[in-house]
Amino acid sequence: MTGDPINQVRTQLSSIIDGLRADPQALETAYLCLITFGAKANVEVPLTSLETFNIPATLSASGSTAMGEALELLVATRKADVVPKTGSTAGDWRPMVFLLSDGVPTDDFDAGIREFKKLRWGVRVACAVNGAEESNLRRFLDASDAPAGYNDESANLVHVSTADPMHMQSFFKWVSASISAVSGSANPDNMTSDTPPPAPGANANSPSVGNPQLPPPPPTLT
């Protein structure tokens, strides 16, 4: 992703940060990690509290699409920085993952997805930017090849177009609302696989299954 699209992502991320900072719950509890992937995957900002987070002045994701490497990097970052339950702390909540791409993985995506699915995650959202090919994004969301108990009910695939700033804005608003909702939830996920209550009106394709707090994505994005 280069030029205008990545700049738009940066602008929107910036407004997400502003929005989240206005929410005291998110401000106290949310941590963000930003990984970009182009020819190489790069941790732009390691897992950082919302209070101290600042978006880099420029984001770069040019060249090919090292999506597999990005997932491996994500896993490594999670293992390093997300605090599990320890003797004295309850640990962090399972991370929510938002994956945005306008390309097709050009590296060993299988290796990345294998590593990714070894861990259990909170909400996963894949966002196909500008009509990007979906099959790999679906694999990121799909839980059929994941270990037993893997919760794929909180997975969403959405589409955004950078050509339409309003479209982009509505996606990021939704992301922001989702983060806010989950950070404000007393029980964002559950200990056993069968425990998440289905949301009212939920069906297999409903975005809100397993995370009733997660607002459904705007219809324009689905």
Binding site: P84, A186, N187, P188, N190, P197, P198, P212
Partner: protein, 728 residues
């Protein structure tokens, strides 16, 4: 035109063979021509005759020697013949060309004469004189030759004059340059006090023209041709460069006015050297400015929190060469202490990217300045925000949309048809904060439950619930608290069922057990035996709760088809205290997180009295609907407590921020908590019925629950039961 033609003539003359041009006058030239024509002619004729003579004798009576002489002679004669012929031809050709040249010359002179009267008259005179004595064509030729010679002489004289003039001008120019060079220093030193050099003094009297080749100047130098002055335009790169060399073109103004000298007096190129002599500090200062970004982001600060930034460390400058002279801050929030270079203060309002300009001067050279823009983001103080929310919205009724209200009405109407309703209203509401304190038979039983700030902020209902009561003539107590899952839409109803039906079932069951065997707990101290006796009471309580939830879910489903019993997810923490053979026996049972513990008793009986269901990640737990909720072997905990004790039950809203997991089982944790709560509970008013409180008029226990813990804003519920035999 005339001049041009004459020049052409000179060129022609120069190409004429040297042997011919040696003849000095016409007469001599005529004799020469004669000899040149006659001699070869005679030679040719002689040779021809000799050849004829020799041939006529051939081959009559030749001896071999004679034949050889004959052949050699014939060859020599032939060679002579060829050379003579060639010489003759050459002479004839030359004479022919000479004639046409003379004609051309004459024409030229005719043209020249038209513009020169005296020359014309002279020519007429000459013509007359010549005309009298010689043939007119010869005269013309001679006259032309004479004129050409005269012209050549004149030209030579002019050339000589010009050469002399040029030589002189060149000498003058060179001497002026040499004087000028002496007046310009080999190295011109530029200092902070004088950042320019004035060449006008050395040039003024030199009589020379001085032009700086601006191309050779770096961009940071400026040249003024009018003032003949070079000035440092941007001193930083100049100081870093330390010295520069540039080219100057020096010309003699004489050459411009004198066309004869113009092409001859070439400009002179001179290299001039400038050296930057600035203090060492200036160099350091500039090197620092080069290595420092124009914009530096400071770490974010929190609204209202005292903030300090050590700018020396942050911007890596040394006050011995850089002086931070001030800062400009549009928000006027941070103030610079110039003695320590610390920027400090309090930013009162959250703001993104506040720009603070830090202004620097070089210590030894204050005219050398630099500024760095510091970018500062101030984030909201969540505590302040939470307290605002708490104060303004604590007593507000949760917000429901019209359609939600309609739906809830339908749901509650259905549920109301199957009593008991447990305080059911149209929207399954519950008071935002409740408390209770009853003091009986040596027991001080108190509880409080409040809506968490996160629910206040979002306009949601309190999801926790609590109930407690005495039985067995106030000699026994049962307490149940429940935490409704935030992810379940009607968990507030779930927790209410758990707390009320749970308590009701437990009391009934124990009453029934004691009715059958009133002295059971007074006779036995066998924990395992007791466990077998009472485990069904707890599993039955859970089962009853589940059954009720199922019933209500089924009813609600008729109003809302997607409703599921999981929408009433709630935890279950229960404790029953009965008099025993040795003091009291405590039965505690838990499904989900939160905690039950005992303090204020001996260490061997104090500590955690449940197995909390913490997940691997925060927020994960079990609910009464979960598999294993009725596993009494695992979940039932029995403790015999002699003497005084404090039993404490709390939802995870209290235990998460209050009790670190690694010390939750330690008696000390519970002793100190019991002692902290004792005075708070004792300040509560005793009342037979549960009170609903407002934020402004809250009791001490609710106030204690309101305590601020960053990141912990869930509903909070606590219940304490203190037994003190001395109060009996």
């Amino acid at each position: 035109m005339a001049e041009f033609k004459l020049k052409e003539e000179v060129a022609v003359t120069k190409t004429t063979p040297a042997t011919i041009s040696d003849y000095q006058d016409n007469r001599a030239r005529a004799v020469g021509y004669f000899v040149l024509i006659l001699a070869p002619t005679v030679l040719i004729l002689g040779c021809l005759w000799l050849l004829y003579y020799l041939c006529s004798k051939l081959p009559k009576d030749f001896t071999s020697t004679e034949l050889a002489i004959f052949i050699v002679s014939a060859i020599i004669l032939s060679i002579l013949l060829v050379f003579s012929g060639e010489s003759l031809l050459g002479t004839i050709t030359y004479l022919g060309r000479r004639k046409s040249d003379n004609k051309k010359l004459k024409d030229a002179q005719m043209v020249s004469t038209m513009s020169d009267d005296s020359s014309k008259n002279k020519m007429n005179q000459d013509n007359k004189t010549e005309g009298k004595s010689v043939d007119p064509s010869d005269d013309k030729k001679k006259e032309a030759e004479r004129l050409a010679k005269e012209k050549a002489d004149k030209e030579a004289a002019e050339k000589d004059r010009l050469n002399k003039k040029r030589e002189q001008a060149k000498k003058d120019f060179e001497s002026k340059i040499s004087i000028l060079k002496k007046s310009i220093p080999g190295e011109i030193v530029i200092t902070p006090e004088n950042e320019s050099y004035d060449f006008s003094i050395c040039i003024k009297d030199s009589g020379l023209k001085f032009i700086v080749i601006t191309k050779s100047l770096p961009l940071y130098m400026e040249w003024s041709q009018d003032k003949l002055k070079i000035t440092v335009h941007d001193r930083m790169p100049f100081i870093l460069a330390k010295h520069i060399t540039f080219d100057v073109e020096i010309s003699d103004p004489v050459a411009e006015t004198d066309s004869e000298l113009k092409s001859h007096l070439k400009t002179h190129n001179l290299k001039v050297h400038l050296v930057a002599k600035y203090p060492k500090q200036a160099e350091k200062f500039i090197e620092w400015t080069k290595g420092t970004a124009d914009q530096v982001r400071l770490t974010n600060v929190k609204q209202g929190s005292p903030t300090k930034f050590n700018l020396v460390e942050l911007l890596s400058f040394d006050p011995s060469w850089a002086e931070l002279v001030g800062t400009e801050d549009a928000s006027d929030s941070l103030i610079l202490d110039r003695s320590t270079n610390i920027l400090g203060g309090v930013v009162k309002e959250p703001a993104n990217d506040i720009k603070i300009i830090a202004k620097f001067e070089c210590k030894a050279m204050p005219s050398l300045k630099h500024s760095v823009t510091l970018i500062l983001t101030c984030t909201m103080d969540p505590e302040m925000r939470w307290k605002q929310i708490e104060q303004s919205d604590s007593d507000k009724i949760p917000v429901l949309t019209e359609s939600e209200t309609e739906e809830l009405k339908k749901m509650s109407n259905g549920v109301r048809k199957v009593p008991p309703s447990y305080g059911l209203d149209e929207v399954f509401s519950k008071p935002n904060r409740v408390s209770s304190r009853q003091v009986k038979s040596g027991f001080d039983l108190a509880y409080a439950s409040i809506r968490g700030r996160s629910h206040i902020k979002d306009g949601k209902f309190r999801e926790d619930d609590v109930n407690a009561g005495f039985f067995l003539e106030h000699k026994a107590v049962a307490i149940v608290i429940s935490d409704g899952a935030g992810s379940a839409s009607l968990s507030r109803r779930g927790s209410k069922i758990v707390a009320n039906l749970g308590l009701e079932t437990l009391i009934k069951s124990f009453e029934k057990l004691l009715a059958e065997d009133p002295n059971y707990f007074l006779n036995t101290l066998e924990v395992e035996e007791m466990k077998n006796k009472v485990k069904d009471i707890f599993t039955d309580a859970v089962s009853n709760i589940l059954q009720r939830i199922d019933v209500e879910s089924d009813i609600i489903r008729s109003a809302k088809p997607t409703f599921n019993k999981k929408d009433m997810y709630a935890t279950f923490l229960a404790a029953v205290v009965l008099p025993s053979k040795n003091g009291h026996v405590l039965f505690s049972y838990s499904v989900g997180d939160g905690a039950i513990g005992v303090g204020g008793a001996s260490d061997d009986v104090s500590g955690l009295k449940c197995v909390p269901d913490h997940g691997q990640s925060a927020g994960q737990t079990l609910f009464v609907q979960s598999e294993g909720a009725t596993d009494a072997i695992k979940r039932l905990n029995i403790t015999i407590i002699p003497g005084a004790f404090s039993l404490i039950l709390m939802s995870d809203g209290v235990s998460d921020p209050l009790i670190p997991l690694d010390v939750e089982s330690k008696p000390k944790t519970w002793h100190s908590l019991a002692s902290e709560l004792k005075s708070i509970v004792e300040s509560e008013m005793v009342s037979e019925i549960e009170k609903s409180e407002t934020y402004q008029e809250r009791g001490k226990l609710c106030e204690w629950l309101d305590s601020y813990q960053p990141g912990h804003h869930d509903d909070r519920t606590i219940a304490t039961l203190t037994y003190n035999p001395s109060s009996l």
